[in-house]
Subunit: 157 residues, 2 copies
């Protein structure tokens, strides 16, 4: 078990390999996330209406996934930056769960996501064992709060 | 000019007076924000369809503003927690601007908001001058990025 501060430090450090911004190579980080996910977890495409059959090349050309890519990575930046502040971190988990309500996601994905994310991160930088442990700890806490929130609000279908 | 770390420290400290959570008194922090805003800036109610004539008492009884209150305070928690990480802070500002696109807000509000917020905070705790300066600095940077983003995307109407 790492301290929250150590988790934060390690996660933030690893995110330096995928900066968000307005340069082409920064947008590309987000696009690459979905290219990775759609290639390695094609079953997850079912949650992206209209893109159920998208290939990595389709993602590359898509304005939708350019924006969505940065948006999903931003959530990881927010998680890492708030992890040392559980009030903010857990409120963000609940809010994220609420915003995904309409997609009727399999609740297990709130935990499973983080393995996909770290595997994507490994395509961008070297992720050492302690950093993997940090993301796993953060991801477990995030998923736990999401599932508790689903249960609390009668959505643990 | 305060360092980003000092701004973060002061802003986070002041947010301890308005925790977010599932207890009644935690939800109340968010409700109180809208009660404060609707009472002191009734002109801003125009952006809340269906609530244009809401009084503080209407807000108090509203499920919508209970949720919306925590949601808007969460954004301040995220701003404070990311301020020492400009990549994340500025990406959050752009994302927030995009999510508000449909409301056709007066762009000036991206800066003006922070005075309203700090005045609300003053109803909850003692906010010293340095902390006010910290929020003003954070708010200016946030608003600057929002306006740059609006301009960049042809929305600086």
């Amino acid at each position: 078990m790492l301290s929250r501060e150590r988790v934060q430090q390690l996660c933030k450090k690893s995110l330096e390999s995928i900066p968000l911004g307005l340069k082409d190579e920064e947008w590309q980080n987000g696009i690459d996330f979905y290219k990775y996910m759609f290639t390695n977890h094609p079953d997850l495409r079912v949650y992206f209406k209209g893109a159920e059959n998208y290939t990595a090349e389709d993602v590359q050309k898509s304005e939708r996934f350019k924006k969505q890519g940065t948006r999903i990575l931003l959530a990881q930046f927010i998680c890492a930056n708030t992890y040392s502040d559980p009030v903010a971190f857990e409120a963000f988990a609940r809010e994220t769960t609420d915003r995904h309500r309409i997609y009727k996601m399999d609740p297990a994905l709130w935990h499973a996501f983080w393995t996909v994310f770290v595997n994507y991160l490994c395509t961008k930088t070297t992720v050492d064992e302690e950093t993997k442990q940090a993301w796993a700890q953060l991801g477990k806490d995030f998923g736990d709060e999401c599932l508790a929130h689903l249960k609390r609000t009668g959505r643990a279908y």
